[in-house]
Symmetry: D4
Subunit: 253 residues, 8 copies
């Protein structure tokens, strides 16, 4: 709360125009639910524009169900990522209306029907094996309300495969490029467009790829000025930030 | 050129409505000037929304002057980064109207007066030593036509220093967070806002910072979903992508 | 044995006031039991204030049982960590009174009932997945006789979740902060308190977390002066050192 | 401010017993001074028990002098580390009463005469070349008000050199062990005492020491349970945390 | 298409000597088939002298079969590498004439009978465990139409084993040397011959071999000037480039 | 063959005193058997003082049996290391007289009964988990004909455990020290003796031990001048070199 | 010498048709000159097709001059690389006819005039800063007798710059691609041609380029099958192997 | 002191046959001199067979002189390594009889004339640039009383250079092999001899040698069983351990 607002609030209290409980509520901490093993951040939607997302790796089905329930009860959208087969089954049993994508390993339970998509995110992969990460990006961008399109397997060793789709991606608000091995694709895409490119390195490849380290370094050193990078295999972050950019480009000001 | 456009062009040629030179020019390669030691990409402004930027490290003054001249003659804006003292002097002698920032190590020679700033980029640093990198981001964002603001030395070890400036940065279109050492600041900022945060690790620090590797890894693993990362010390890229986002948010559609 | 004490002892021997066996015993090596595959250090309690702790990974059930028996016979407390399911079963069969914590993977067999807790250790985690490591810290601190409290899932991406618990941890004698991914939480906690903070990086996370390397480096580079670091996933060491600090703060002098 | 306190404050405002300015001051942000290039955290002494410490590397003399002046004007102690020869000269000119240690590269300007030392910190080095880092630890511990003692060059290759000083360090409240190369000394010391050992790896050594990485890893993997680690060459942190422990052990409760 | 050719084409169109469809086809993109999950590059054979090769790791049997079918229908040779047992079975069911090598994990389905081998590639291994990688090189070189020979287990610890085969490899057009552990063999071979040596590090070995990093670095630093390196375990690339060199040495000019 | 010897041989040929076959045999290559998948170096015993040793990882039972048979037929000792359970069974079936050690994972089939041991090798471990590696060293040293002794679990955190065994190891010809985690033991042992110490890092430990990298670096940086290092987990090399030293110390000159 | 040849030689000796000195000379070691600090390998030209090349870093001018003289006296070509300014001056004084290239840092002293160039090597750089490494490749390829061409600064961020030169490089016998930063160019070039591509990573770039590690990994993981890699900044090796390939492609068979 | 001896000593004290001072001296700590900045270990010669060696890097001339004086006064040999030009001058002024080797950077001041050399150490280098490290090994081996020989620049790229010297090194008691770049030489030498080979990696080389990391890993993974490794550039340790082995091989038993 800003100093000016604070003074005004105190003046209202002093003047008897504002009750103590109302004042306390406005001064109070943002809401969070303590489940013992987790603090569900019910204020994140307001602060960050999207509710807390559940990263499922290393969590029990019970823990995950509890958090989903908190979000549902609070009337918020619920997105879960890295959902294992067992977790998916558990979620399906309790929330049959949730939408599951087994390639993307996601679970998506919107609070209400979404409106028409806002803005356009394009997701491009260098190879076929990058598809699971790319689909996680697609699902996430859609959950944030954006339109999205997927162009798969257009790596730089056959550059004409990419160039023929140029009109499909040149008009995007943001592009997510998913690549393993040499990770060269984001630099080429970045040099063809005027929007931000979010590069997602994948752990695909062998030998000196070192679990994604090679494409990660490639992308960080991209000679194209509009390329930014997220964690290895983090299709979620790629889709999330691309959607933030696209939504902002089309919001009313 | 798209298939449909191509057919139309050929029809015009066939019909005698378009001369060979005009047709060739429309079919031709985008412009680039071969200086022997460099190919100046005069088409980048059209493709990417900003002309080629000159990275000055490891280049002779003569090389740099030649490239600047090509851009100037083409009527394009010229931004140079990592300008050494000697290079700065050489540039000042030839282009006295260029604006130099000795902390940011930049040279900026706009083709014409810029209009009013579009969108707002906020640059935040964790420490005082991060200032040169942060200023490079500020200069770059301004060169791309955005408004920008700098909040310095508000690292997480005194979290109230950051929180008191919340209204200054919560409304930004994009935020650049520059931090060395533990690189923890972008995660905290990311959790407070609904716009993308571009994290720039710096090589500031000693020992196990390993030349910026520590904050780089921290930022890639940020638990905030809206944080993306660029290369160590790359204030330029941070400011560049933030400005792309901000411009897009305020463009006419 | 100090030079002064040594002279005194020899004088007593010379004077016939001290028998040879008694003298030898006082000069002799501290006790240790050689089991062939292990040397149980029965003197560690005296030297270090706590008996030898058994790290169970890579050991057979027989080896572990033998060492536990040595400690029990010597009337010493027995703490075992990284206890597998099979080892837990084996220990339960032989020592049914031992207390097992399956999340913490610990086995705790005190020599006698502990007195009231001395000092206060608070254990804080950034995420839910950090719980096993955090619980190992809690069990260890309690085994050393300290009071302990656990605050889970208050990572920096929702900083208000941490701040609302400030009074619970600001009065601690020592704080253990357990975090994976970006490992940013110890720096924030460190800047809010006047006691030492022991940071424990976890191997939670994926991609560029590199098995805990990322939070390890973050914590080593913490901009808060009161943060020290232990090995990845070493909840044991975190709880151990925190308890040493807390016990010392409340001992009679 | 806690919920209970907040309600009480509002009641006083409501009742007219507390003026608006006083209420605002009690609700307000902790003090920090914005110098443009730095935010001096004048509240850190209250929160953390010691004022902000100035890390001088990569800062201009002017920046450093400004911050020192802020602390002096606020009546707070001032400690600066990593002071270069040029910075030392500049500080000496403005603050002739400051105490400089050229081996430790420190500047120390207490707000008032310190009282008798509280608690005992022992600093031990493995080699002669570790002295600058060790002295930084000594100066820091003294600045925090502790007694301190230095035992130099007692590395494990001649273990009797360490053992003969056992009585000098076995009674310490906390021990700082500074070592490069193999970094083996903290494990040996840790096994001989019942207080925490803060291990400081140094960048001394050559070849496969890799700038301190080797002793850093050694210390993180120490088989002694009471060993914690700080950044490479960070004598400051070693002395700081050791002093926190020692002060706490002797404070009135 | 070159500027000269382009002008000529347009002149033909202008003169009515070339129809629009024919012109468009000559101007058009090279062929590629979009399967949704993959873009099969049917133009690679023309550009690069060999069709697209299918890397099977991380792909479903269905995906692989679809791509194989595309190549077969286009009348192109088909080579697949890293074929798992399950994938091999699936391929055998659909393409019983394909040749499978279970040690090399390859599937080879030539479009037509190959002619006599052109040029000579020798594959040498340091140890017995390097055989799978070496055989992948042999199969690849043969698929490109070259003669090939395998000399196994002649590592440098018994240098006479290599020297006795000198006449077998000294006349080769290119040599592939496959080695794990110390990776020293390529340097020795390189110093004995006048043709290029393609070094393939393997992940064989333990401890400080770090999954092939050790031999990779050895080979990159080879003191023999004619040694080049490919990815860890990449027998495919080793055989491919060796065959390119051998074919070129014997082509008609 | 030396120039002088060569001239003498040729003189004998010229003089008709040496037949062509005999001359060729003396000039010829040392013996090696080419099995297609392996070249068994039957000359190594003569050159290096011990026959080729079989490293079994990644090899089929058939390959191993073939090589063992070659050695047996040549009347040479046969030592195999890293023998899996399946390989052990296969070897036992064919060579029931071979001695297997399941902890050390070795197979030892001497050509004839060994004589009395020559020289003394002591193997020391820091922890109980280091035993498999240590036993590999013991078996190897014995295979080379040396006496050997094992002292287990005397790591530096309880230094008295080591010191009490000083007379057992101070008289050794060479000492093998096996340690994981901090790897500090070789430095301490090295400082107590006048013989070479061969340090063997193990992959025991967790977190920042990074699969043995931590103790490897520690040992390479040992401050004791008589410490040399072999590969991670390579008990074989440790025992081998220690035995070479011990044999040489007791050979007749 | 092969067994058959050896028998024939001995028969001639036996028959008195070959003198001892002649026989010894044919059996003898290949020539090498021992200078105490160096063994000049005068046989390398015969074995490997090119004389020993002098790597000048870390050598005194005297050492270098001595080796050059040995080569000149033996009538062999002499190429020196990494020639410092001081070394260049020293070489110029003694061998004024040598050709020096100050950008490439090379010294080239052919034994006789070279004939017309054989084969064609193209050297391509991603950036202007890669020129010194690229020129070393050009000089080396020419020293081996090949034609060569340099195309500079055509990195992938402006892909049309590369594509417009396609006819200049598509017909080469081998291509050397020199790139720092993201190192993406070799993959793109590799996908456009049917000859081997030798990728040379450079240490150009900053931050996460880590002295050339980033482009090195990129290139090792190239998705183009015809890309091989040499050491960081090793323009020499790039040019050397490219020339070996080109020479072989045009030699008479 | 052993238990038996201790009892005997106490009996003598009890019986009055041994005075207190004599008893204390025999029970006392080994001698060490505390200079404040250093503890000179005057007992090391007795324990380890050679006095403490002074590593001069990072030490002042005064510190070094003081330690040298202590050793001289105690009648012990004095060896100093890594002596800078300034330190060399300072040592020459105070100890004009000391022998300095400027290539090896050593200072050697024997307490008395050495006798005839015992045993034979051979030092072999791969390249000319490895000479300084090799000479440090030679000087050290000689200081320990061994004969030594140097064979320079016989790297594996011209294997005949090494093989022609086989008789010079095959009879050695221990061989030190010094190599940078690919570090392949120790494996080849190891396969030719029956004595231990101590491999010393050097930081010579560029690019992916990473300051000696490449040859270090090569050597640790050597396929020859008799190769052990010391720190990068540590000619001292190489020569030291080789001399220990050689001395032991020729000592009277």
């Amino acid at each position: 709360m800003e100093p000016g607002d604070l003074r005004e609030l105190l003046e209202q209290v002093q003047a008897g125009n504002l009750g103590l409980d109302a004042a306390l509520s406005r001064l109070g901490n943002p809401p969070a639910v303590d489940l013992g093993f987790a603090h569900v951040d019910l204020h994140r939607r307001e602060r960050c524009g999207f509710p807390e997302v559940i990263f499922c790796e290393g969590k029990t089905c019970e823990w995950i169900l509890s958090v989903v329930r908190q979000l549902v009860e609070a009337g918020q959208d619920c997105l879960a990522t890295r959902v294992s087969a067992e977790q998916a089954e558990s979620l399906a049993a309790s929330f049959p209306h949730g939408r599951q994508d087994r390639v993307a390993r996601t679970f998506w339970l919107p609070a209400k029907e979404s409106g028409p998509p806002v803005g356009q995110v394009v997701v491009i992969t260098a190879g076929t094996s990058d598809l699971p990460v790319a689909k996680e990006a697609v699902v996430t961008a859609q959950a944030l309300g954006c339109g999205s399109e997927l162009i798969a397997d257009v790596g730089v060793a056959g550059i004409h495969r990419l160039l023929r789709h140029r009109t499909r991606f040149a008009g995007a608000d943001a592009i997510v490029v998913v690549a393993g091995m040499d990770g060269a694709l984001p630099s080429v895409v970045g040099g063809l467009v005027d929007c931000p490119v979010i590069a997602v390195p994948t752990s695909i490849g062998y030998g000196a790829a070192f679990g994604g380290l090679a494409p990660l370094l490639t992308m960080l050193n991209s000679c194209a000025a509009n390329v930014v990078v997220v964690n290895i295999d983090s299709g979620f972050k790629g889709g999330y930030v691309a959607a933030l950019i696209a939504r902002r480009a089309h919001k009313q000001i």
